[in-house]
């Protein structure tokens, strides 16, 4: 049985020897490729008043400059019509106004420097708070509501209000964006792209070129990391390469440098939240009112669905009887923020964990107990109307972590340590995760696969998902081998291409294995059924059976299809049953904070995570651990800074290199990291009883932030409530512990009216189902 075996990544031997190929490695196997380099705006917001490419053409080795005039189709790189590929109004520092093609990267770079562009500077909005002040918003403003928050707050025993701000996060996939385009025989455009969404890359390339989709093929061999950053962002780069290839007749390679990638492409949304919360005397949540504003950057991109998911995760694992959640997307002159592992879920959850972490000391209830007391129980529904199935799994995971993580003993040790050390404090915190699985937008929850059995009995599978390191291909090989009943070595997987499986969804929303696994299994079962019928109980060996099938004209290949059943969603009212199921997890984290500097170490982490019946335990373990560390990076270390001054650098990302934007390194690995999968976790109706695992573990890292909060509070008197900035860098922790030492001011307002969240504007547009749809189809006039 292959499914359930702990196998290494299917490309591991290629990875470690340098033999695995990524998009940009192909340029060394492609004769005569040209190299593309952007001309980027130095302004946060400006009108292009003159663009003269002729000086670039005088640079040795420059072949062509691509401008808006060259676009035969639609000059737009997005799906909403708000992202001109070659803009005449630049909307952020780094916005590309044109691209230079050169014989060498050096020629293209020098050519780009020679292009003359005049700008007329326009007013800009940079900080999220600035956008809120001046009312700079874009897109729909959804509201999730249940009950009567106003009355419930008025009747609650304890009411607190405050604001919570959190920064975004740079994906920092190690492989920057890359595309290599060429024109094949018969005018067929072939684009190799580092993309999580080949079908959408294909569609955008086609509409930019004015071609039907069938004239464009996109292939993704594998990505050097994606994390959501290659869901929507690769399209424009692929289109530029494809446009260059069609105009010059030569292959065109486009690869961003790290600084280009960081300054030109979208990131996780930073969020701002205003909230009021009511508790009863026992600390049970009575009501939560909140306005969440995300920093969408210059265009909508995926900001609306990200916001929708954020609102759908403010409850996390907690029952809140009365809820009013209001969301809006700020428009700022920054990169267009986009999908990033968790897709708004982490930001939504951070709000409620921040609320609980800050209020627990004021309620006089231990944070671990406060959280547990508020867990969903069977029969309750989320604020958006979906019954919470298996809520007991959170409690089971919680109790398992308390037991295997020796939380009681260690909490006592933490207290003893804190009582006996003058300059250091420890904190031990636990947080739960409940994460909804499926695309909110129902139509995306479908997938296709193509499975071939060749006459020699070997099997080749194609499916619509892309491999970015998450182990999807490993799982698909296992699903195919098990479904066909053949050894794993008999099955091979071919790279993802749009001419093999059409109309695919992004490999996103953690859904890759659920959807594509369903489709691969369907295709394999079709073949298997035919072969079983043919065998008629003789028990022929596989090779013989396959040979006989061919000679008796039994079809040895099949197209598989899968759609997730039982889900529905109405985004105009933000109600429905958008998720097939919830993935659950619990983490306990212990940290130690140095009182002199605010520097800290994560001493120990214990995780119990619900992956259903694991398809591939080593892969799933990697997703849990990697997600946790990436989440910890977002919450503690990774510090996006933008120049918000009125100086000449306004709008510039000041952390645009690896030397200024720091990811977790091996030194941030917790001293002890124990991960267990929740047992008895079979999930009905999902491929082999498994659960999605890509995103949910990232949010386990909220326990790190809460542990830091508790450690900082321990520098003050008992009952100190700490307001901790996010990311909780050493500096942020230092200021938090200084405040804790200095006073009992807790930065929360007690009682009503308090901080009143900005109210939904009844006239504001709601989300529209189209918010999450792909582009209006551009049909070329004639073919």
């Amino acid at each position: 049985m292959s499914v359930g075996s702990a196998l290494p990544h299917e490309s591991a031997a290629l990875h470690v020897t340098g033999h695995a190929l990524y998009t940009d490695d192909l340029v060394h196997r492609t004769r005569g490729a040209l190299h593309a380099h952007p001309v980027c705006s130095p302004h946060a917001h400006a009108r292009v008043t003159r663009l003269d490419p002729t000086p670039a053409l005088e640079v040795a080795g420059v072949v062509r400059v691509l401008t808006a005039a060259d676009v035969p189709g639609v000059n737009d790189a997005g799906v909403k019509g708000d992202e001109p590929l070659f803009p005449d109004e630049v909307m952020f520092v780094g916005h590309a106004v044109c691209w230079v093609l050169g014989e060498t990267p050096e020629a293209a770079r020098l050519g780009a420097a020679a292009v003359e562009v005049d700008y007329e500077s326009l007013p800009s909005v940079v900080a999220l708070t600035e956008a809120i002040e001046v009312g700079s918003f874009q897109g729909g403003r959804p509201v999730v509501g249940r009950g009567d928050t106003e009355r419930a707050l008025a009747e609650a025993a304890h009411v607190f209000s405050g604001t919570t701000e959190m920064a975004g996060q740079e994906h920092f996939y190690l492989e920057t964006h890359a595309a290599l385009a060429l024109v094949d025989e018969g005018g067929q455009v072939f684009v190799q792209s580092s993309t999580q969404h080949p079908s959408e890359t294909q569609e955008i390339v086609a509409h930019v070129l004015g071609l039907h989709n069938h004239a464009v093929t996109v292939q993704c061999l594998r990505m050097g990391g994606g994390f959501g950053g290659k869901e929507m962002q690769p399209h424009g780069f692929a289109a530029v390469a494809a446009l260059g290839a069609t105009l010059t007749g030569r292959p065109v390679r486009l690869r961003l440098t790290r600084t280009q990638d960081m300054t030109m492409t979208g990131k996780r949304h930073g969020f701002h939240a205003q909230w009021r919360v009511g508790f009863d005397d026992a600390g049970r949540l009575q009501a939560l009112e909140a306005t969440l504003t995300s920093d969408g950057g210059w265009s909508l991109d995926l900001s609306e669905p990200v916001l929708a998911r954020a609102l759908c995760h403010v409850d996390n694992a907690y029952w809140i009887p009365h809820v009013l959640l209001h969301g809006r997307v700020a428009r700022t002159h920054k990169t267009s923020q986009t999908a990033f592992r968790g897709f708004g879920g982490p930001q939504g959850m951070l709000v409620v964990e921040d609320v609980l972490g800050r209020c627990a000391p004021l309620l006089g209830i231990d944070p671990i107990e406060l959280r547990r007391r508020n867990f969903y129980v069977a029969g309750q529904t989320t604020p958006y109307g979906q019954p919470v199935r298996h809520p007991e799994r959170v409690l089971r995971a919680w109790e398992q972590v308390i037991s295997t993580g020796e939380v009681a003993r260690r909490s006592a040790e933490v207290a003893a340590f804190n009582a006996s050390h003058a300059h250091a404090r420890r904190g031990l915190a636990m947080t739960p995760v409940k994460f909804g699985i499926s695309f909110n937008f129902t139509a995306f929850n479908q997938a296709g696969a193509l499975v071939h059995v060749y006459k020699d009995g070997s099997v080749l599978i194609n499916h619509g998902g892309t491999e970015m390191g998450q182990g999807l291909h490993t799982k698909m090989l296992q699903v195919a081998a098990t479904s066909l009943g053949v050894p794993l070595g008999r099955v091979r997987l071919a790279p993802t291409r749009t001419d093999k499986v059409p109309n695919t969804s992004a490999t996103a929303a953690s859904s890759g294995a659920d959807l594509n696994g369903g489709a691969v299994k369907d295709a394999c079962e079709q073949i298997r059924h035919r072969l079983v019928d043919l065998d008629r109980g003789r028990g022929l060996p596989w090779e013989e059976l396959v040979r006989e099938a061919y000679f008796t004209r039994v079809q040895l290949w099949a197209a598989g299809f899968y759609r997730t059943e039982g889900i529905h969603w109405d985004s105009t009212v933000m109600q429905g049953h958008p998720f097939k199921y919830f993935a659950y997890g619990v983490a306990a984290t212990e940290v130690e904070v140095d009182g002199f500097t605010g520097a800290y170490r994560t001493r120990r982490v214990d995780v119990v995570h619900d992956v259903g019946d694991s398809l591939s335990p080593l892969v799933d373990l990697g997703q849990v651990e990697g997600g946790f560390v990436q989440g910890a990076g977002w919450l503690t270390l990774e510090d996006l800074r933008w120049d918000e001054s009125d100086g000449p650098g306004r709008g510039r990302l000041t952390t645009q290199t690896a030397s200024t934007y720091k990811l977790p390194s091996l030194g941030e690995l917790p001293g002890e990291l124990n991960v267990a999968f929740l047992d008895r976790a079979h999930e009905d109706g999902v491929v082999f009883g498994s659960k999605a695992v890509g995103e949910p573990p990232l949010m386990l890292a909220l326990s790190v932030r809460e542990a830091l909060r508790q450690a900082a509070a321990a520098f003050g008197p008992p009952g100190t409530s700490v307001d901790l900035a996010s990311p909780a860098t050493p500096e942020a922790v230092f200021w938090a512990l200084e405040r804790a030492r200095g006073s009992r001011d807790h930065h929360l307002v007690e009682g009503l009216p308090g901080v009143v969240p900005d109210r939904p504007d009844p006239a504001a547009p709601r989300l529209h189902p189209r918010s999450e749809q792909v582009a209006p189809v551009h049909v070329p006039s004639e073919v």
Binding site: P8, H9, A12, A13, H15, V16, T17, G18, H19, H28, R109, A113, F172, Y173, L174, E175, R222, M223, G224, G226, F227, T257, R258, S420, H421, A422, H423, G469, Q470, G471, F596, T597, A599, G622, E625, G626, G627, F628, V629, Q630, L637, D639, T654, T655, T657, A658, S659, T660, L663, P664, S665, L666, G667, L669, L673, P730, E731, F734, W735, E738
Partner: protein, 459 residues
């Protein structure tokens, strides 16, 4: 003089015709060895790491470096290994099989770089303490969270005696060769180097390229005439007499290995200074030559009262480090002069410490760095030297704080008063690394922390 060439994975490869700014990474990728990747082009992520055979006494060592920073022509005559040269998918190297089997690769993009860093440590002889995980602090992985990489490293035993790469280390590395291409010269002795610099006063001096490589890659710098000095024998000597004299062209890794625990303050600096991939390239002279206001070595050397020996065709002179830095990235070094060595006088201060404050524990640029060198005799501070980085346009001495300590009892109230003075030293600024207020607070707390640590007051 033969045309420049380099041995890559055992195959001889020509270097002729490459401009001086072409990196070793572009070279190997151009050969179709695409395992080494560009992740950041500034020596921060390690995805480009390759192994270079470097001299080590009479033996040699496979030494991992960032190929994105090293100019290809600087490797003339040397031996280079990439991940492809260590093993193949059908015949994995032990480092590769441990990583592969334990889930040490997910997207795989950083993996060949990790393989090279890990192999460098694997081949370090005499490591009874096991695998030093610091060897991997210059490699970033965005997928795994590092636990399986750590486990793979911990699982590695010593290489078998039959291992050809281990055996290769028992013979000497190729010596320097006199490279001369269009725009790049490697002289073989100091006199020749100084003569070249005399003729070309605006020449770019190349040592480990860990600074120049960043300028080339990120800021488009294209030096027209490069003089490589990193293998000059006169600049590669180290004496532990009085003074301790450290040759400018020794890499920080070489200084670390040769000095051992001889200078406890420097021993405290090394693990906090960038990453092994950088320390394997960066030289002590280069660190002072580029005169970063932050560079972590300068605050420590200031605390040790070090001086710099400058040499030119007109002779040598010794400049105290406290007078060496003259402005933002400016020094007392004149055109045509080279840093020959760094001198550290004996006796060394009795009480030393290096406090670095940064966002990340390892391989991060300091928000501030403080080097302490105190002599406490019979409970009185008789001499204080405090070097600061990150709080002014140059590394500086905390002169007012030194005065507030000297002649006073090493006691809590002295420390408190001096900490308040230290807090006001320099002119710290707000930037993306830290606020000015935090930098000042950290200055003050550095001395308090030293007091707490040295008096057992940490409990």
């Amino acid at each position: 003089m033969s045309d420049p060439h380099v041995t890559v994975n055992g195959q001889d490869r020509p270097l002729a015709g490459l401009p001086a700014h072409t990196s070793a990474l572009d070279l190997v990728r151009g050969l179709g060895l695409t395992g080494a990747k560009e992740g950041c082009a500034e020596g921060e992520c390690g995805a480009c790491a390759v192994l270079v055979l470097r001299p080590h006494g009479d033996d040699s060592r496979w030494t991992p470096v960032n190929a994105c920073l090293v100019p290809a022509v600087a490797l003339d005559g040397q031996e280079v290994l990439t991940a492809e040269g260590l093993g193949t998918p059908d015949d994995l190297h032990p480092v590769q099989s441990e990583l592969a089997e334990r889930g040490g690769s997910q997207c795989g993009y950083c993996t060949p770089g990790f393989v090279c860093s890990m192999a460098g440590e694997y081949y370090r002889p005499d490591r009874p303490e096991g695998f030093d995980l610091h060897a991997l602090s210059g490699n970033l992985c965005r997928c795994t969270g590092y636990r399986p990489i750590r486990d793979a490293a911990d699982a590695l035993g010593p290489p078998p005696g039959s291992d050809a790469l281990a055996q290769r280390q028992q013979r000497s590395a190729p010596g320097p060769v006199p490279t001369r291409t269009d725009g790049f010269v490697r002289p073989l002795d100091l006199a020749e180097a100084l003569a070249l610099l005399g003729e070309h006063p605006d020449a770019t001096v190349l040592a480990g390229a860990t600074d120049l490589g960043v300028e080339v890659n990120l800021r488009g710098r294209r030096p027209t005439y490069v003089v490589a000095i990193d293998r000059l024998p006169e600049l590669r000597e180290l004496s532990t007499g009085d003074p301790i004299e450290i040759g400018a062209a020794l890499t920080l890794s070489e200084v670390e290995a040769t000095l051992g625990a001889e200078v406890p303050l420097l021993d405290e600096v090394w693990p906090q200074f960038a990453s092994p991939l950088i320390r394997n390239g960066a030289t002590i002279g280069g660190n002072l030559g580029t005169a970063s206001p932050i560079g972590d070595l300068a605050p420590a050397l200031l605390a040790l009262d070090a001086s710099v020996v400058l040499v030119s065709s007109r002779g040598e002179r010794e400049v105290p480090l406290s007078g060496y830095f003259t402005g933002y990235r400016e020094t007392a070094r004149r055109p045509g002069e080279l840093v020959r060595s760094v001198r550290v006088p004996r006796p060394l201060p009795g009480l030393t410490a290096f406090h670095k404050v940064a966002k990340r524990r390892y391989d991060d640029i300091s928000s501030i760095a403080v080097g302490f060198g105190l002599d406490v005799v019979d409970g009185t501070v008789v001499r204080a030297r405090i070097g600061l980085g990150g709080v002014a346009a140059t590394p500086i001495r905390a002169l007012a704080t030194e005065a507030a300590l000297e002649g006073r009892a090493w006691a809590r109230d002295t420390v408190e008063a001096a900490s308040e003075v230290l807090r006001g030293e320099g002119t710290p600024i707000d930037d993306q690394r830290a606020s000015a207020a935090y930098r000042s607070a950290m200055l003050g707390n550095a001395l308090r922390r030293l007091w707490a640590e040295t008096t057992g007051g940490s409990r």
